[in-house]
């Protein structure tokens, strides 16, 4: 079935949803625009339902240009769930800001870009998805257009992102030039059969830099703290979660499917990148006094942990990445949603203003605590299981990397617990209780429960991820 377009139906639905929100936003009166958030949530949930229906489907459209397999479906579901949670967590924020129409539709288009990336079977599709996502994010980052920080972040992001895209494109074109194919799996077969050339290595370097930028791996991470800080907090959350997860999805697809033939050339470099990213992310997080910057560095460190799964380029590694990425989504969204809501109420992102949060809003404090402990890898939370899966893949041959991961996890406990200490020990300067609105409460409770449940009972997710990782090699 070379032109079975029904395989594209969830992407079409998402595109239709984005357009519908755009049109509805234009024709509806200002007072009704608050409903757009709920339309987005319901629409995205509907698309998620359709995506679940695709579980188990294996196929491709337009001669391998677009792939549908459990691997892609799993990632798409992750993006969709993340998008739903972000929208729920940002409703009030956006209502205060105005411009709901543009915000929600752009967010949907960014999600669409991610979904295209997860399913990309060739370099063109890959790049299209990546750009759709990136450009949507540029719009979202400078959404608070009256605020200089937001605009500055937007400009930084647009310039650096286009630079990284250029580098990535250069790498892709080098590989195309050498192999004569843009199809990822086809490239994989050609690379495996032919001797290695320096130009190919250069192409791999460019790819690493381009994708490294997206997942904010050191030394391509410089943009992320500034952009994360300047962007509206819900956008930061989606950037930290969605953009990173989508880039990981495609990074794995390219490196494990197209470049396994020269695995021994890039494995050590990826391992070193992962190690450096873990070290720098965790160390620089220590002196931060702004919660968004702290989370930015922590998410850099998390990217380092996830990269560990790529080192072996095996099914177990892919499984580890997917498992960790999934729970990273929930932990990060939990933390950022608390930060968003806290900013809405108090107008501050300073960690010291979180003093006594446990008294003002026990729910927010406990969600932040659970998210952070999970990211630090404390059992029985999900992060521990995730790290366990990731590091068991490399413990044989890259013991030093596992050791770095271990030491730096301990370091991370320091700065995570510093926030916890402020929230739980210190007396609040202003002790008025914070009432959490219901959509935000849903997001918070969901993220916390998922983090707890996966930690205690990782079995089902682990099996789903197994199936997804397995399908990766069937294309």
């Amino acid at each position: 079935m070379p032109f079975d377009t029904s395989l594209l139906s969830i992407e079409m639905l998402t595109a239709a949803l984005g357009l519908a929100v755009l049109i509805l936003g234009i024709i509806s009166p200002a007072s009704a625009k608050k409903g757009l958030g709920w339309i987005t949530v319901i629409g995205l949930l509907g698309v998620s339902g359709a995506a679940i229906g695709f579980w188990g489907t294996q196929g491709s459209v337009y001669s391998g240009m677009y792939l549908v397999d459990n691997y892609a479906t799993f990632w798409k579901l992750t993006f969709l769930v993340a998008a739903v949670l972000v929208v729920l967590g940002s409703m009030r924020y956006v209502d205060n800001l105005g411009g709901q129409t543009e915000y929600y539709s752009t967010l949907i288009f960014a999600t669409l870009g991610m979904m295209v990336m997860a399913s990309a079977g060739d370099f063109i599709t890959l790049f299209m998805g990546l750009e759709l996502m990136t450009i949507s994010f540029i719009i979202l980052v400078c959404f608070r257009k009256n605020e200089s920080k937001s605009v500055e972040a937007g400009i930084k992001y647009i310039l650096l992102a286009s630079m990284s895209s250029a580098v990535l494109l250069y790498g892709l074109s080098l590989i195309y030039g050498l192999t004569g194919s843009i199809n990822i799996y086809e490239v994989g077969r050609i690379v495996a059969m032919n001797p290695v050339s320096p130009a190919l290595i250069l192409g791999v370097v460019m790819l690493l830099a381009g994708f490294g930028f997206k997942i904010s791996a050191v030394p391509f991470h410089m943009w992320s703290p500034d952009v994360y800080e300047g962007a509206p907090t819900p956008v930061t959350a989606f950037l930290a979660v969605g953009s990173k997860a989508a880039s990981l999805a495609i990074l794995l697809r390219v490196f494990v499917a197209a470049l396994p033939g020269i695995w021994e050339h890039w494995a050590m470099v990826v391992a070193i990148l992962a190690g450096v990213t873990i070290i720098v992310g965790n160390l620089v997080a220590i002196p931060q006094d702004n919660i968004k910057r702290l989370l930015a560095y922590s998410s850099i460190a998390q990217a380092g942990y996830i990269l560990v799964g790529l080192v072996t380029a095996t099914e177990a590694g892919i499984k580890g990445v997917m498992f960790y990425a999934f729970l990273y989504v929930f932990a990060t969204l939990g933390a950022f949603t608390v930060a968003t809501y806290f900013y809405n109420i108090t107008g501050s992102d300073k960690i010291k203003d979180y003093a006594g949060l446990s008294q003002r809003s026990p729910l927010m404090a406990v969600v932040m605590l659970v998210a952070m402990l999970s990211m630090a890898g404390i059992p029985p939370l999900a992060g521990f299981v995730g790290k366990f899966y990731l590091f068991t893949t490399i413990v044989d041959n890259y013991l030093w990397l596992a050791f770095i991961g271990l030491i730096m996890s301990m370091v991370s406990v320091y700065y995570y617990l510093r926030v916890a200490l402020v929230m739980y020990r210190d007396e609040p300067a202003d002790s008025t209780p914070i009432k959490v609105s219901s959509p935000v409460a849903i997001t918070l409770v969901v993220t916390m429960l998922v983090t707890l449940i996966i930690g205690v009972y990782p079995g089902p997710l682990s099996e789903v991820v197994n199936a997804a990782a397995h399908s990766f090699f069937l294309q």
């Binding site: 400009i155 930084k156 310039l159 650096l160 630079m163 990284s164 580098v167 001797p195 290695v196 050339s197 320096p198 290595i201 250069l202 791999v204 370097v205 460019m206 690493l208 830099a209 490294g212 930028f213 050191v218 030394p219 391509f220 410089m222 943009w223 703290p225 500034d226 021994e264 050339h265 890039w266 050590m268 470099v269 070193i272 990148l273 720098v280 160390l283 620089v284 997080a285 220590i286 002196p287 299981v385 068991t392 413990v395 044989d396 370091v411 320091y414 009972y457 990782p458 079995g459 682990s462």
Partner: protein
């Protein structure tokens, strides 16, 4: 239909009290009555399901041979180079666990009901009920566990609850100290158990009880006899503390600092028997190692005798009961040690009823006398508190071993199996313990409930919520032993290890002698404490054997020995390690921390906020990776530098 449902949903039994715990903690805490209602309701429902499940197990004889097991995969651990280890969470129902399930939930229900009256007006009323629920949930989880890890988790949870409940009156220093003592003592021993469990996993590659029992039966394929002995002894260390066996029994009498329902629930009927239960569950392991069996039997018999000799001189009502518990637990261990799961579990079953009854009775007395605990200061309570007194007397008859009360049958069973096994010394110890038991228990009864009333006391009968459980448990103490009479031993057909054992001939000799021993004990107590109004003889005796009396009264100075050891050895080495900690460990840690902070600050400087710098770093990064690629890859260096295409 309903029985089928209960059988296949036995996990509901621990889940219901667990839910009650969560609801109380998060929602219902501000409303004490609601909390109590949720707690008791949850427990009663759990008891209902447990009863059905037990009924289901006992009416299907296939479960005796093949336990009903169902489990969900919890996680799979695969380390490179090691066989994959699957860990399940599940339910294992066989007559033993079904019996425990019923017993624990039944007794817990009535104790919770009793607590409603007993804890009335306490500021921590709701919290108390949440703890009770959590405790019941953990204990029930322990009982139905189908694998060792799950069991160990429940085991630790039970220990935690015990800590919380013993220290419930946290304003009292003694309660706090007792809680810590219980927790630390058990933790020390749990480490042995944990090592044992780890050893079993490493050796046999499974945590699942059924699989493990199959593999242990052919242990020679896996390991040597020496390892097996070590594993069995390590596993036994856990129960030594949990079930108050010598020499780690010290925490149990102190644990009476907790509210009395706690003593009844945890330290008589359920938690302390967890150790016995574990040994019973793991009997397939001990069975392979005769040395370990002997260790269990000797520890049990010695503990039984040892604790009984302490109990005869104690003055506090709950303390006497506590030592009596230690002594009875010794009996159970003895039974298991001589290889009779039937007798051990049977005594556990009857003991749960009469000991819970006596603790609750003691609680009722303390309630009436405003926590005056010395039995010498009581007296004549039978007139003002008839229900409490009569039920207590029934408990006393049961524990002393007067036929046909419950304790008689189970204790007789233990004596018979010990004798049949040819363990004559152990039999003598156990028989003498039986005499002492009857004596000290009836000493308590004569002193507290009979004799002259003390004018300064103004006792009154307790409210119905406290009396109903007493009556129910008294009925239990009278009848539950009839399940295992030698004429119609239904018990032995259900609960056994290996071959179902039929006693065949009725051991009239043992039976009559144990009844005679019990009567003799009671008679001695009668002559010394009731007939002799001025207690002249007692005082004379205590005077004459002063050193022995002091030894017993001061519990053989075991606590003092531990204290001495703690002061000299532990504190001494702690001082040494403290110095090491301050200068070496802290030095390293602070150094590392300082380094981390400094490098964090240093790297932060790079984050200038200037776009040009970021772009520069980006391209430097590309360059660095390119260079790295050249040198880190296996042959890339030669590829590039050598120019091979």
């Amino acid at each position: 239909m309903l029985v089928e449902f209960a059988l296949h949903h036995a996990w509901l039994v621990p889940l219901l009290p667990a839910l009650a715990f969560l609801i109380i903690v998060f929602l219902a805490r501000p409303w004490p009555k609601l909390s109590a209602f949720i707690s008791v309701g949850g427990m009663a429902t759990a008891c209902f399901f447990a009863t059905l499940a037990a009924y289901g197990v006992f009416t299907n004889h296939q479960y005796t041979e093949h336990p009903l097991v169902y489990a969900a995969r919890w996680l799979t651990l695969g380390l490179p180079g090691m066989p994959e280890l699957q860990i399940n969470v599940g339910v294992q129902l066989d007559p033993t666990s079904a019996m425990m399930l019923f017993m624990v939930s039944f007794i817990a229900t009535f104790i919770q009901l009793y607590s409603v009256g007993y804890m009335k007006g306490d500021p921590g009323f709701s919290v108390f009920f949440s703890y009770l629920s959590l405790f019941a949930a953990s204990m029930l989880l322990l009982v139905i566990s189908s694998n060792l890890l799950q069991m160990f988790i429940a085991w630790e949870l039970v220990g935690l609850c015990s800590y919380l409940l013993i220290g419930f009156y946290s304003h009292k220093i003694s309660a706090r100290e007792a809680a810590k003592k219980a927790f630390v003592t058990c933790r020390v021993a749990d480490f042995g158990l944990l090592l044992g469990i780890l050893g079993l996993v490493i050796t046999f590659g499974t945590l699942d009880l059924v699989e493990l029992s199959e593999r242990v039966a052919n242990f020679r394929e896996y390991t040597t006899f020496g390892t097996m002995t070590l594993l069995a002894i390590l596993v036994f260390i856990g129960p030594i503390a949990k079930s108050g066996q010598f020499p780690l029994h010290v925490w149990l009498p102190d644990a009476m600092e907790g509210p009395t329902p706690v003593s009844a629930l945890i330290h008589a009927a359920t938690m302390v028997v967890a150790g016995v239960y574990l040994v019973g569950r793991m009997l397939f392991l001990f069975h392979e190692v005769p040395v370990a069996m002997d260790l269990v039997a000797i520890t049990g018999a010695f503990t039984a005798l040892f604790a009984a000799t302490i109990a005869i001189t104690q003055r506090e009502i709950k303390r006497i009961l506590a030592y009596s518990t230690v002594s009875q637990l010794g009996y159970m261990m003895l039974a298991l040690g001589v290889g009779s799961l039937t007798a051990g579990m049977f005594h556990m079953w009857t003991h749960a009823f009469f000991k819970a009854l006596m603790f609750l009775g003691a609680g009722s007395v303390l309630h009436a006398l405003h926590h005056k605990a010395d039995v010498w200061e009581m007296g004549g309570l039978v007139k003002k508190m008839p229900i409490t007194s009569w039920t207590f007397v029934i408990g006393g008859l049961a524990i002393a071993g007067i036929p046909p009360f419950a304790g008689f049958w189970s204790k007789d069973e233990i004596l018979v199996v010990t004798l049949n096994g040819g363990h004559y010394i152990l039999y003598a110890m156990a028989a003498f313990t039986a005499f002492l038991t009857a004596f000290y228990m009836w000493r308590l009864i004569f002193l507290a409930f009979y004799g002259e009333e003390k004018p300064e006391n103004h006792p009154h009968e307790s409210p119905w919520t406290m009396c109903v459980p007493l009556i129910v448990l008294a009925a239990g103490a009278m009848t539950v032993g009839l399940l295992g009479t030698p004429w119609n031993n239904i018990w032995a057909e259900w609960i056994f290890f290996g071959e179902a054992h039929h006693s065949g001939e009725i051991a009239w000799g043992a039976m009559i002698s144990s009844a005679v021993i019990a009567v003799a004990g009671i008679y001695l107590a009668y002559t010394l404490y009731l007939k002799d109004k001025e207690k002249v003889k007692v005082k004379a005796l205590a005077e004459r054997y002063k050193s022995l009396y002091n030894l017993s009264f001061n519990k053989y100075y075991i606590d003092e020995m531990y204290l001495w050891f703690n002061h000299t050895m532990v504190d001494g080495s702690a001082k040494l390690f403290y110095l090491f900690d301050i200068y070496v460990v802290d030095g390293i840690v602070n150094g590392l921390g300082g380094f981390g902070k400094l490098s964090g600050e240093g790297l932060r400087v790079l984050q200038t906020g200037r776009l040009q710098n970021y772009a520069l770093v980006f391209f430097l990064g590309v360059l660095a990776i390119a260079v790295l690629m050249v040198f880190a890859g296996p042959s890339t260096a030669s590829l590039v530098l050598g120019g091979v295409m």
